[in-house]
Symmetry: C2
Subunit: 344 residues, 2 copies
DNA sequence: CTGAAAGCGCTAACAC
DNA sequence: GTGTTAGCGCTTTCAG
């Protein structure tokens, strides 16, 4: 049989065995690095594998071993803006390369809102053994959903938010510390009256930590602080800035909960003829690509999305293999970096 | 056996059969909508499926049917900017929902550059039957790579670029028409001296079509046109604008090959104290989110990424099922929309 | 219309 | 060290 013929229909383990003149089990042993395979046999088998362009069938492997080599990257959040969040790319890109490095594939799912087959679809795919575990990416997840994930027995790592119950492992970043660094930076530049634009009703740990970090830091520095409600979007940032500027006592720094709101605040300032940073400092949070493009460029906090993503994959893998140290705390926080630009 | 017990270890088809008091084959027939199953039997089986929370094992199905229900969404392009391209999210999001609607999952791969396991990894995953076909997303793909994909027998649909050989099916958008619309818009606003910033050495059909569409439209309108080299990035847009402005005869409109370069051009104009659009019009191409956030906001061409993505999935599916009409042309082009904003 | 048999490609358990 | 047997969960024959 000529090697080329094998390309018609993919070679199987038995084809390799026949070609190498050994039993199919020997081939399997070679592939799984079983000890005590004679080097010459091993070489013969490897040659046959190469000659026949053999690739193991993942479905057969998964069926036999009842474990799959696919991980799910699940993004929660339904708004068009959220779907388009550039940070999702970075996260997913890091997921993919980290997972691939461990021999896993990544399947991506979209959760939340009215999207058909959101959480139910995730569960169905898991029950069908389409993937072995998931990283759920979101700044906020309803507690009921977290309990569901835990109840389903779905191996899960939360990304960018924590489980208040401490059941699900999570990878987050130091939001509070980021806010503290920002406040310190602003105070050192002479700012004394700080306003933070952030949703006031968001239960997600991401919002809560930013809020509390801000308030605590302002208190520690002895400067005035206040919260202005705003819902993560560009438009919300614009509106919040206008409200703050319409008031009697205007702040000398407007901190925004994310870059998108920061861009909105800059736009409102420009429209109102307010000079940034001379009259008021403006900052964001996330360090999206467009933070470099605004006028003036946006001072912000860089979130280490790539490192977080790689860590999340590793934590998920150790969860799946059961090698997670039992004393490991569920939460895990990576540091952020202040990125001073023109706006503050 | 109590239903709850089944949750420990997932229920199989035989469990369902035992619970419903039929043979396992009958359950399979019910699931596959085989004709001539008695309604009462069918109902009993459905009840058992629900009671046991049965979900078919995709690996077993794939093994038996030798076809998988996973499609690969492969992004080509290595630069950090490309990875962060917001349009990738939209494309992927549409892929996922369209594929899910047809009962398929999506796995995502990153190709290109020095990324370990790029094209070789894609082929390996395909050979392992990790997915059945792929959509390759990129504005440009080396012809050699296209020939590889075709040679491997990998069912492929190209997204956002065409196969010059016409072998691989593709879904693109009307780049030339978009440029023509933009030129018409600018001419109607009194512009007579147009410069297009775009790579001059990019062989990708996306760049070629934008370039040629621009030149043809300018010729048709009888206005002056020129090409200024620039390599898709923000910084390239900035530099190109500065070069154009440093010259003797400045254009009255600077068209940029994408929004990122448009944002760079706006920044350069601002830095040079050039008023946009009074002194010069600036435009982009793509309609990224940040085109709304620049100052002034960026006039651009909206590319129907979502519709293209859905179409690409459907074309891939018909390719896989062999139901593609044989006379269907390989290329397929969707229309673009002009989005006039402040900058032009 | 329903049941029994065979096998997709692979690996874990035993013989040899 | 190597080969044989059995079976993961499913669907496609083919008998009843």
């Amino acid at each position: 049989m000529h090697p080329e013929e094998m390309f018609m229909t993919r070679a199987t383990l038995r084809d390799v065995a026949a070609y190498a003149g050994v039993s199919h089990q020997t081939v399997s042993n070679v592939l799984n690095d079983h000890p005590s395979i004679r080097p010459t046999t091993r070489q013969r088998v490897m040659d046959a594998i190469r000659a026949l362009d053999y690739h193991p069938n993942v479905a057969a492997k998964a069926l036999r071993e009842s474990r799959v080599t696919t991980l799910c990257c699940a993004f929660y959040g339904h708004s068009a803006d959220e779907v388009a969040d550039p940070y999702r790319n970075l996260v997913q890109s890091a997921f993919i390369s980290e997972a691939n490095a461990h021999g896993y594939n990544i399947t991506t799912a979209l959760l939340g809102g009215d999207r058909p087959g959101g959480f139910e679809g995730l569960r169905a795919a898991y029950m069908q053994r389409a993937f072995g575990g998931a990283v759920v990416v979101s700044t906020t997840l309803p507690p009921g959903r977290m309990r569901e994930l835990a109840a389903w027995g779905l191996p899960t790592v939360l990304f960018d938010h924590e489980d208040p119950q401490g059941q699900l492992p999570s990878v987050t970043t130091d939001y509070a510390g980021g806010m503290a660094g920002l406040v310190a930076h602003l105070v050192s530049r002479g700012r004394r009256d700080l306003a933070l634009v952030i949703p006031s009703d968001d239960f997600g740990s991401s919002a809560v930590l930013r809020r509390e970090g801000f308030l605590a830091a302002a208190r520690a520095h002895g400067v005035r602080s206040r919260i202005e409600a705003g819902a993560w979007s560009y438009e919300a940032g614009e509106a919040a800035f206008r409200r703050l500027w319409a008031g009697e006592d205007r702040p000398d720094a407007v901190l925004c909960g994310n870059d998108r709101m920061g861009a909105g605040a800059l736009s409102a300032a420009r429209a109102l003829g307010v000079r940034v940073p001379e009259e008021v400092a403006v900052s964001g949070f996330d360090d999206f690509e467009f933070a470099r493009y605004t006028a003036p460029s946006l001072t912000t906090i860089h979130v280490p999305h790539e490192a977080m993503a790689r860590l999340a994959v590793r934590r998920l893998l150790s969860l799946l293999s059961g090698t997670a140290p039992p004393d490991e705390p569920p939460g895990c926080q990576l540091p952020v970096t202040l990125v001073p630009r023109e706006s503050a």
